[in-house]
Assembly symmetry: C2
Homo-oligomer: 279 residues x 2
């Protein structure tokens, strides 16, 4: 593990870290913000943030406006990359931005040529939590998770699969039913093949239909989001949660789009919401 | 004038605007954030932010974390570019990042080949205020100004030259005495020539020594700023303010560097400080 940059911010430390990943067989980079409370020998709770298509760790670090709220509440904030990268990592043959680099979709690929490196599920659920817990003063007994778009999909599916691990889960403009929308169908078919039974483990709505449960969910989506009707389809999550008795707070935010201008507007509120559940 | 992007954020509107500038004889781009209070037919006060070396309007828009505070206090926030750009605009022959593009230093150049386009003083003090006042619901009777590094130099010199215009002035890690430090000497000699009398109008410490006055100043500088001793030299401002009876609040922020991680940490506090003076 190598800390490649460290900057004091809002009283804490914003770090960028590089390490060799056994999950992806590549070098991986992630960002972690340690609030001022992490400097006193104690361990602080941890909020995961999974990013959307085309992003690296850097987008939310630069534009997410999370540090002030994390410092206020004493929460560490971890932002992984969205795919493996580097020499030897296969990329989409058509140069697509919605598959391959920057688009790992938080699955362990089983199809070739992706299966060797595109193992973001194992990376974000096993390898990175173990590394972060070993190297930084965080309390793995108090974790929450959130994410944006593809990363909202990741946050929902990870939390629904490991409900014991997370005190709370929220999402910004998530892809809630990848098996039913173009971005998700392309990714799941590409990484997992044509057997749609395998897709259901990586589809929040399908997971809920199949019995996965969390007590509550917080989801914000902008009404001016250009992907609302074609890719996000929050109404499918609403229906699934109603049928399953999951307490979903779904907020349609008037006039907001899909960008970090939207995310940063709601970020402090999500951090506060998670903080109440991490106490 | 053309609005090239508009995004709802923190209840208001973040705009990026392009226009033909008569000051620089180029197209210029700036950013303006209009808080939610600007939507009701009234006019809101205006905080100027002048950026540092290598920046465009975009750096503070992405990393400055000013929108939440501006929305809270009902203040518009304008971020101009740092130099003219485009075909025909001369650039530093050595590809320097501290002269030419991104380094206009908020002066009207008198030396060739810079004198035609590098007229950022006129741009930020005359042309852009007139445009912003005509096109947006802002109250030019309530303006304040701040900036970072080279832009801190700009904010201080503009406010000291037009004290009647600004209710308050602050700066993040400003170059306070460009005539006495390498960045400033290179820029002032290049744009204004070797006559050091001309430099004094663009040097905050010299302006104060020569009788310019504002009632008070707020300046933050990080103790881990690598430019502290060689380029920023806040002690020179402190000495000048003491001699002149200017109420300078100079805060040395322990462990902070020269980056937007530092600026964003203090931004809400500067916005609040200006808001109290813009009421």
């Amino acid at each position: 593990m190598e800390i490649t940059s460290e900057n004091k911010s809002h009283g804490g430390r914003q770090l960028v870290v590089k390490h060799a990943s056994s999950a992806t067989s590549t070098e991986m980079t992630f960002a972690i913000y340690l609030p001022p409370q992490a400097g006193n020998g104690g361990r602080v709770p941890l909020l995961w943030y999974l990013s959307g298509l085309t992003c690296t760790h850097a987008n939310v670090v630069e534009k997410g406006e999370y540090r002030a709220a994390c410092a206020d509440h004493g929460i560490a904030f971890v932002a992984p990359d969205t795919s493996p990268r580097g020499a030897g990592v296969p990329t989409a043959p058509d140069g697509a931005w919605d598959f391959g680099l920057g688009a790992g979709f938080y699955v362990d690929a089983t199809e070739e040529p992706w299966a060797t490196n595109y193992r973001m599920w194992t990376y974000v659920t096993d390898e990175l939590p173990a590394l972060v817990g070993a190297e930084f003063p965080v309390d793995l007994g108090r974790q929450s998770i959130t994410g944006h778009s593809m990363g909202g999909h990741g946050a929902l599916t990870v939390a629904l699969t490991r409900p014991d691990r997370f005190r709370s889960v929220s999402a910004f403009a998530p892809i809630v039913a990848p098996g039913q929308v173009p971005w998700g169908q392309k990714a799941l078919a590409g990484y997992l093949g044509d057997d749609k039974a395998a897709w259901r483990k990586h589809d929040a709505v399908a997971l809920i239909e199949d019995g996965a449960r969390v007590p509550e969910l917080l989801v914000d989506v902008g009404t001016a989001d250009p992907f609302l009707e074609g890719e996000l389809r929050p109404e499918l999550l609403d229906q699934a949660c109603r049928a399953a008795g999951i307490d979903l707070t779904l907020r349609l935010q008037p006039g907001y789009d899909h960008s970090y201008y939207f995310i940063s507007t709601l970020m402090a509120d999500h951090v506060r919401w998670h903080a109440e559940r991490l106490d």
